[in-house]
């Protein structure tokens, strides 16, 4: 089972922090990979918040292909960050890891954010498609104020490999996943967290309802719903579909993935809507065992469980700094000085929501709505 560590803070934190929390949960992952997503960037990216950042890896040939592609499509490179690689035994370094901030093409100057989001996603997908056959380019995210890093190996070693312990790469929200490879082959695109148009999530556990969910998402006619090298990628896409595409408030994500029973729905004020949602979104119902940690574009972070709470999860912290982890020891590492009695262990009906800048934590109960 994968281990998950997320920290949301009002101040910029080092990207190594959740990785150190992951280290305390080491017996829970097998070192088959680390995924990191950073949102609300500080450091050298603090003044580049408007510019979309392309995160990925490429080979020497891939770099040339990428440069040509971006130039051809009117993206101007504004800033580039590359990790200072420290050789680590067992981690095979690829040619070029990068996070590049670009200027939008001139034709997009006056366009809406929605149109820009479509452009960024389609560009990322096109790059992915070009680089996928020979693995010359991996593109993980292309979005303003977000960086994604992924590599195979022990999480702490991968973090050291990237030099994150010394680098000034900082962000207010950092999600980290230590992979426990189970059903599927080790593949970079299978590594959480997954990100699409401002929505991000990571999950532990197997997704037994993967195939019908994947088929449903892929048949929505939305070009971004592809990939699925991991059965957990669908959780991110369900989040995106529910909140961005269908425009449901965030709490309905819980109602989509773990719908209430008929008698329970009757207790809710919005029962009419819930009945329709339960029918129409039936293929998106998950069956666990899963715990999902995610964020949405405004910086709200959340944690939800499957309908039987078959996976652990805990949220703890202080105002201005909260940790959302799969185990308590991770929270201890991330926020040691806190009142542990106020830690929240969400149960099957709960959705823990941490507001932007980690100002407030709320537990939304699905039964009471």
């Amino acid at each position: 089972m994968c281990r998950l560590a997320a920290i949301t803070s009002k101040d910029y934190i080092s990207s190594i922090e959740p990785v150190l929390a992951l280290e305390t949960m080491k017996e829970g992952h097998d070192g088959s990979g680390l995924g990191l997503t950073l949102k609300n960037l500080g450091g050298e990216f603090e003044k580049l918040k408007k510019y979309p950042i392309l995160s990925g890896i490429c080979s020497k040939e891939g770099k040339k292909t990428l440069d040509d592609f971006m130039k051809k499509h009117g993206f101007k490179l504004r800033h580039e960050w590359t990790p200072k690689i420290k050789p680590i035994k067992g981690i095979v370094a690829r040619d070029y890891y990068f996070a590049r901030a670009y200027d939008y093409p001139a034709s997009y100057a006056g366009k809406s954010m929605q149109e820009k989001e479509e452009l960024l996603m389609n560009t990322r997908l096109a790059i992915r498609k070009i680089g996928e056959p020979d693995e010359s380019i991996f593109a993980f995210s292309f979005y303003p104020d977000v960086i994604t890093l992924k590599e195979v190996g022990d999480p702490l070693e991968v973090a050291e490999f990237f030099g994150l312990d010394k680098d000034g790469l900082k962000a207010k929200i950092v999600f980290a996943q230590g992979r426990q490879n189970t059903n599927y082959a080790i593949h970079l695109y299978a590594c959480h967290p997954f990100f699409i148009q401002g929505y991000c999530s990571m999950t532990n556990g197997e997704n037994t309802a993967f195939v019908p969910i994947r088929e449903f998402l892929m048949s929505r006619g939305f070009p971004g719903y592809i990939g699925y090298n991991s059965d957990s990628e669908v959780f991110t896409h369900i989040l995106h579909y529910t909140v961005r595409q269908l425009k449901f408030p965030l709490t309905y994500y819980k109602d989509v993935i773990t719908p209430l029973k008929a008698a329970e729905i009757e207790q809710r004020k919005d029962k009419e809507a819930l009945k329709l949602i339960k029918q129409s979104l039936r293929p998106l119902c998950i069956d666990g065992p899963n715990m999902v940690i995610g964020f949405i574009p405004d910086g709200t972070c959340f944690m939800v469980q499957d309908s039987k709470k078959l996976r652990p999860g805990v949220v703890g912290g202080i105002k201005g700094r909260y940790a959302l982890m799969s185990e308590e020891c991770g929270v201890d590492r991330a926020v040691p000085k806190r009142d542990r009695s106020k830690d929240i262990f969400p149960m099957k009906y709960d959705m823990v929501i941490v507001s932007p800048d980690a100002q407030e934590v709320k537990v939304w109960n699905q039964l009471q709505g």
Binding site: M1, Q279, L281, R282, D287
Partner: protein
């Protein structure tokens, strides 16, 4: 030389027993000549007769063998193919001394002769193919285990429920967000009726095809399952109307009323609409039947007795043949769209209306027509292994399409269009053929069915129907069902106790519910039915695996 008179010297002109599908094994030494077997035989395949026998006897203290001739009463199998033994075994059941039983003869030439008078062989039952169907070869091979724990069928909560009814696509839901809550804007769009049901339903078998105690037993069982067990099992009326009191009762909601090309019983139904206190579960428009594609319904004259004639609104003792097609409709647009509209309108658009077709290579054409019709509530596809009360043998044995690939291609077609959750598919035809009701149902669900319908299985399991795929019994069309299931003769149907049938229906569904959970639990599914979860299935045949898009395991 043969004598000119035409008198034959031997019996060479007769069929030998080797030509018959079942040979009666009668034991002279055990028979006490009570005559029960010959009386009970529904086809008069055996008869009492006398035979002159030469017996060597020896009496007294010293062996003194003496040949005597005696006249003995025997039970003899008739060598007339019109009265051939069907292997039902009623004789064995009534025999007090285990002196008689039919034995299947695999070398028989039954079909070579069963066309007397130029009339093709008609019968009831299902396709006479005892081989293992594709459906029964499907296995559930994806088991959640050490990587992630499986669920516990006995401890965890399960929701084994499905829907019939047109389900709106999420993008079209009339919802708006007010203060973080979604509310329904009912005025903006038609919200089609949807029923929550147990995913196994009792398929269409009419009052008329079934005897009064059989139909009543099924109906009572279904009502009990709903009212007492809380299991929303529904049952289809078949074509032939429904008992008038039931139409006006609160239990109507557990019944799907079928309309077919003969419209039998619909005069009564239409007149009952103003008096209905509940809406029916759904309306099924029958366009085809898996057992006999291209044929309409058929109720033989001998089954059209007073009660049936009254419910159907016809005279007694006439053959009731429904036309193969709906005679007033000339195109798929008319047949489907207009009938769905008319039926929906009759109940104020509060009742799901869906068509049933026989399995066919053209099923996808019908499906796509329905996919574009916002009032179509489902599509029921009845595969070639479905049963019937009466049909030509050739239709049953040689016409039709297996349900598995037909259902799968329809589901995948819906997936391509993104409508896999909008138009539920109901699969039927051969479910439980080998007794594996839950496994067959679960396999079809994982291939894309929202629900399955059973007919023959419930007759066998709840009322001990003799029929099997070796053409055993299959007398449903004659009105002489030895079990009292498909007859209107009170002397026969009094053998069937409707309470017992109802009890068995309840047992069957409760057991199926448990077994479904035993299948879903190790696969990690409990909250929703695993519709289309094809990664759970495997088969030991590469070609079938490829055709169905599932894994090959051996």
């Amino acid at each position: 030389m043969e004598p000119a008179s035409g008198i034959r010297l031997d019996h060479n002109h007769q069929l030998s027993l080797k030509e018959f599908p079942y040979i009666i094994r009668w034991r002279d030494d055990r028979c006490k000549r009570c005559g029960k077997c010959t009386a009970v035989c529904p086809v008069k395949a055996i008869e009492p007769t006398v035979r002159v026998q030469r017996i060597v006897k020896s009496e007294g203290p010293v062996p003194t063998p003496t040949a005597v001739r005696s006249i003995t009463h025997v039970v003899e199998q008739v060598k007339d193919m019109e009265r051939c033994c069907t292997g039902c075994g009623s004789c064995t059941l009534v025999c007090p001394n285990e002196a008689i039983e039919p034995e299947f003869n695999p070398q028989h030439k039954f079909l070579h002769y069963k066309n007397k008078g130029g009339e093709g062989y008609k019968r009831g039952g299902r396709r006479n193919d005892p081989s293992i169907s594709t459906l029964d070869r499907l296995k559930f091979a994806r088991i959640s285990m050490l990587t992630d724990p499986a669920l516990d069928a006995g401890r965890h909560e399960f929701r084994v429920r499905s829907y019939i009814g047109r389900i709106l696509p999420p993008e079209e839901l009339p919802l708006k967000s007010v203060n973080g809550k979604l509310i329904v804007d009912k005025e903006s769009i038609f919200i089609p009726p949807v029923r929550e049901i147990f995913p196994i339903m009792i398929g269409s078998m009419s009052v008329g095809a079934l005897s009064p105690p059989m139909w009543e037993g099924l109906a009572m069982g279904v009502a009990y399952l709903n009212e007492v067990e809380g299991m929303p099992v529904v049952m289809c009326s078949g074509e032939g109307g429904m008992p008038p009191r039931l139409l006006r009762s609160k239990y109507l909601k557990y019944f799907i009323i079928q309309i077919a090309s003969g419209y039998f019983g619909w005069d009564e139904i239409i007149h009952a609409i103003p008096h209905m206190v509940e809406d029916p579960a759904a309306i099924e428009i029958k366009y085809g039947q898996g057992a006999k594609p291209g044929d309409g319904g058929l109720l033989m004259a001998q089954k059209v007795l007073k009660l049936i004639a009254k419910i159907r609104g016809v005279p007694q003792f006439v053959d009731l043949a429904s036309p193969p097609t709906h005679q007033t409709k000339y195109s798929i647009e008319e047949a489907v769209a207009k009938m769905i509209q008319s039926m929906s309108m009759a109940w104020g658009f509060r009742v799901p209306v869906y068509p049933k077709i026989s399995g066919t290579r053209t099923a996808r054409a019908v499906l796509n027509n329905l996919a574009r019709n916002p009032y179509a509530a489902a599509l029921s596809i009845d595969g070639e292994d479905g049963g019937t009360g009466a049909a030509y043998n050739v239709s049953m044995d040689k016409m039709g399409h297996p349900i598995v690939s037909n259902l799968r291609e329809c589901y995948l077609d819906l997936v391509k269009q993104g409508k896999q959750n909008e138009l539920p598919l109901i699969a039927a035809g051969g479910i439980g053929k080998k007794g594996n009701l839950a496994a067959n149902a679960a396999a079809l669900i994982m291939l894309g069915a929202s629900a399955v319908a059973i007919g023959k299985y419930i007759m066998q399991a709840a009322a001990d129907c003799f029929g099997d795929e070796y053409n055993r019994c299959n007398l449903c069309n004659t009105g002489k069902c030895p079990r009292g299931i498909t007859t209107q003769d009170p002397k026969l149907y009094r053998r069937l106790d409707s309470d017992k049938v109802a009890e068995r229906v309840v047992e069957v569904f409760k057991a199926a519910d448990v077994e479904l959970k035993k299948i879903f639990a190790p696969m990690g599914r409990s909250t929703e039915l695993p519709i289309g979860m094809s990664d759970g299935l495997s088969i030991d045949d590469q070609a079938i695996a490829e055709r169905l898009g599932i894994s090959y395991a051996c």
